[in-house]
Assembly symmetry: C2
Homo-oligomer: 214 residues x 2
Amino acid sequence: MAAAAQASGRSRDVRLTEEGIYAAALRLIDADGVGALSMRKLAAALEVNPMSLYHHVPNRAALLRGVKNLVAAQFPSTASGGTWQDQLRQVAYDFRSLAHRHRNLVMYAFASPDSIEPEDRFWQALCRILETAGVPSTEVTRIGAVLTSLFSGFILGEANGSVERLSAMSAAGRASATEEAANSTDADRTFELAVRILITGLAAQLERPGATSA
Amino acid sequence: MAAAAQASGRSRDVRLTEEGIYAAALRLIDADGVGALSMRKLAAALEVNPMSLYHHVPNRAALLRGVKNLVAAQFPSTASGGTWQDQLRQVAYDFRSLAHRHRNLVMYAFASPDSIEPEDRFWQALCRILETAGVPSTEVTRIGAVLTSLFSGFILGEANGSVERLSAMSAAGRASATEEAANSTDADRTFELAVRILITGLAAQLERPGATSA
DNA sequence: ACCTGAACACCGTTCAAGT
DNA sequence: ACCTGAACACCGTTCAAGT
């Protein structure tokens, strides 16, 4: 019963908690987007006075950072064998599936400077893989930052729909009965292309730094 | 005198114009960011009643789209010779220098679905180059969308400082007298790396589609 | 320690009224 | 046609007061 109230977003008699606030905020964000989340609506969802929130969270910006960290902590710490290429691919797919579960948050978070922080498990995993790939230790963070920003751009483009919109520009007259399914696998093929460009581009860069083409 | 008033952001006795509203909004955004731009402040800067704006712009979202389009229209339509790699590089550098002039706008715009629209000159130039690179016409928009989103991610990461923050993580103890200059050329080297990864990655993909590494 | 009500200084937008 | 004042339904946040 307490669990049911929790799941439906209503839960008083239970004490207000920093974690609980973030979790409730995430539910509202997933449903209606960051723009629609106000301290007052969040308080209403928690059946609490708006001002009570300020005893656990300093302000709205910190609230959103907390929600972001809550999601970032869910990134799986896959060890996985295989080549560094295989491992990069794995990390990319893990990141994507997590991002897809929280598109509204992605749209907001990637515009802020601390969308990905050095403490995040994604960043840790990425740097470890780059080291095993033989990237000079002085270059790991630079290359990691480049890959992260490029990749984030694609994830963001998927979240806000711009990748699909730009891709579909030419498919105006492709009348297909299985439109839905086609779009889904199409998105997967597009993602795979992005991952390949990044991995092969990095590989080429590691082999002969300074060269521009094959 | 009228020009001086215009430049300083004050200009009445002149009629209110859609273009003029966007230009004034851009000045405010460049100065203080999108979050600090309100219809009321914009009206104050234009020395106009807040409600007058609504006769030229339907709402705040449309205002921001208009500002974005104003900037997008400034993208240079360089023809330029050379290989398709050279041309892609040129477009990338052009895009970057425009984006750097309006970082605050970039931070906002790339979170929205229509940050880059099919009508934008950047997109047109990109698609033309991909065609000359021999990309099958059915794949031009997909590959264009992938490159655009990846590249946008880097530009966004530069605008919000996350690329620099993640890169600098290891440079904690690099005490340098010419810190400022070093940071600038460092950023340029990082950008060049991003461009190379994208171009060589694309080249590899065009040569043998389906392969993941060299 | 934790919660709350009232208040402050803002928002975007609507609409009827003015010229 | 263009502009405006008043008003509505919101915001985030502060602060003094309650338990």
